[in-house]
């Protein structure tokens, strides 16, 4: 299991590289969105280790909240108001 966690950390570092380097704002948004999905995977691996449903609760809420965050960022980049 530790190996899986280390590999997931490697994925997260790739995303962080893109967040830092990304030439444009949408590049950074993509990287943040993918980071959210990877954190869901991280919580899933932790719930295998501990066998508790606490981490699955975090995973579900994280998936939904990061989805709303990405939509808000996309709307902001597009330059529209939120009620459209």
């Amino acid at each position: 299991m530790t190996v899986i966690l280390v590999l997931l950390l490697l994925c997260i570092f790739c995303c962080l590289y893109r967040v830092g380097k990304g030439p444009t704002a949408p590049d950074r948004t993509v990287a943040i969105d993918i980071l959210g999905t990877l954190v869901v995977g991280f919580c899933a691996v932790y719930s295998i280790i501990t066998k508790k449903d606490l981490y699955m609760n975090i995973a579900i809420s994280w998936a939904l909240v990061s989805f709303i965050g990405t939509l808000a960022l996309a709307k902001y980049l597009e330059g529209r108001s939120f009620d459209e």
């Binding site: 899986i4 590999l7 997931l8 490697l10 994925c11 790739c14 995303c15 590289y17 893109r18 444009t24 704002a25 949408p26 590049d27 948004t29 993509v30 990287a31 969105d33 993918i34 999905t37 990877l38 869901v40 995977g41 899933a44 691996v45 719930s47 295998i48 066998k51 508790k52 449903d53 699955m56 609760n57 995973a59 579900i60 998936a63 939904l64 989805f67 990405t70 939509l71 960022l73 996309a74 709307k75 980049l77 597009e78 330059g79």
Partner: protein, 114 residues
Amino acid sequence: MSEAAGWVFIIIGITFDLVGCIGLVRLPDIYNRLQAATKCVTLGTCMILLSVFFFVGLNSVGVKALLCIWFVLITSPTSAHAIARAAHRSGIRLWVGSVMDKYADDKEGTEDTA
């Protein structure tokens, strides 16, 4: 038996996650990155969640993992679509090696009404 299936799924999942993140770093422009990252990371995370179901069996953790697969499968393509449209509307051009861009061609004519 079900633990073996769990290991198989978690290894496939982590491989696809890694491929998606390498794509995120290597590919040349935002649309290609979005393609690689969305497809691979979505399936990879779904595989990891499925392996949770195989490891713990049918109890509260497993059922939550299955629900989480459903949420990820619905939300991930939608946010990719939102980012792609936002990027195109905020004026980011395609990679120089691209073949054609019908969307920009069509938008030229209707720029004033938007």
